[in-house]
Point group: C2
């Protein structure tokens, strides 16, 4: 473990809003606790990272491959009309990448999801099933 | 020119909303005609492309490098507080990647920019200056 990863800590807002699903080579993989959308958040475990383009070339290649992996899993599981992939960070500065499966009937369609409706937390059984399905999809 | 690039045509909505600045190895580089934000749109010149994760690995690596190039140019020129990078496509299905320089005083801050305020078209001289500055920044 190098000093950068030793110092990494998940931002408290991300920790509060999500459930951890997995840890990949670059990113921690989180599920947004909002049953309105199948919504993953990838957080590069690099202390102080704020901007995608400032990752090292190696980390950026890893993060890109992990975005593909997350996108493909959401696509297989949910057959969305569209995937939304975004690194915004205007409110939570820690670099994090949203990967969201979108549907014509979802609460924000066709707008972006942010700030449209309050998060609808998963029920306990629903959350457990979703996390298990995602872990299976990542493995597949 | 392969058959995919021969068949590429810019979506009419993107053509209407933007000004072309450059053509890179993968993406056409457009400036959103909205003076509210320094806002680039990268469009992979690949016919039928809709999803980032479905680009070929080579094209995805090119597009990623071009996102970095666009981001770095915006950062040098405008010293934004944050860059927003996003591939949404819920309305315009042709794959396009937003790269937007954000500031605490901008009209949407800290929300995402989409749908917040109507676009404010650049004046002719302002547009010419901005395009020239961006082309310089890309070359630098």
């Amino acid at each position: 473990m190098n000093s950068a990863s030793a110092a990494f800590g998940l931002h408290p807002q991300l920790a509060a809003d999500t459930v951890e699903i997995d840890r990949w080579d670059c990113c921690r993989v989180l599920l947004m606790n909002d049953a309105s959308y199948p919504w993953l958040i990838l957080v590069p475990e690099r202390a102080g990272a704020r901007e995608l383009h400032r990752l090292s070339p190696d980390d950026l290649a890893l993060a890109t491959a992990e975005i593909v992996r997350a996108s493909a899993a959401l696509e297989r599981l949910f057959q969305p009309v569209k995937l939304n992939v975004a690194a915004l960070g205007n409110i939570v500065p820690q670099l994090h990448i949203h990967v969201i499966a979108r549907f014509e009937g979802d609460p924000a369609w066709p707008r972006p999801v942010w700030g449209v409706t309050p998060a609808v937390p998963y029920g306990a059984a629903e959350l457990e099933a979703r996390v298990a399905a995602l872990r299976d999809a990542f493995a597949g």
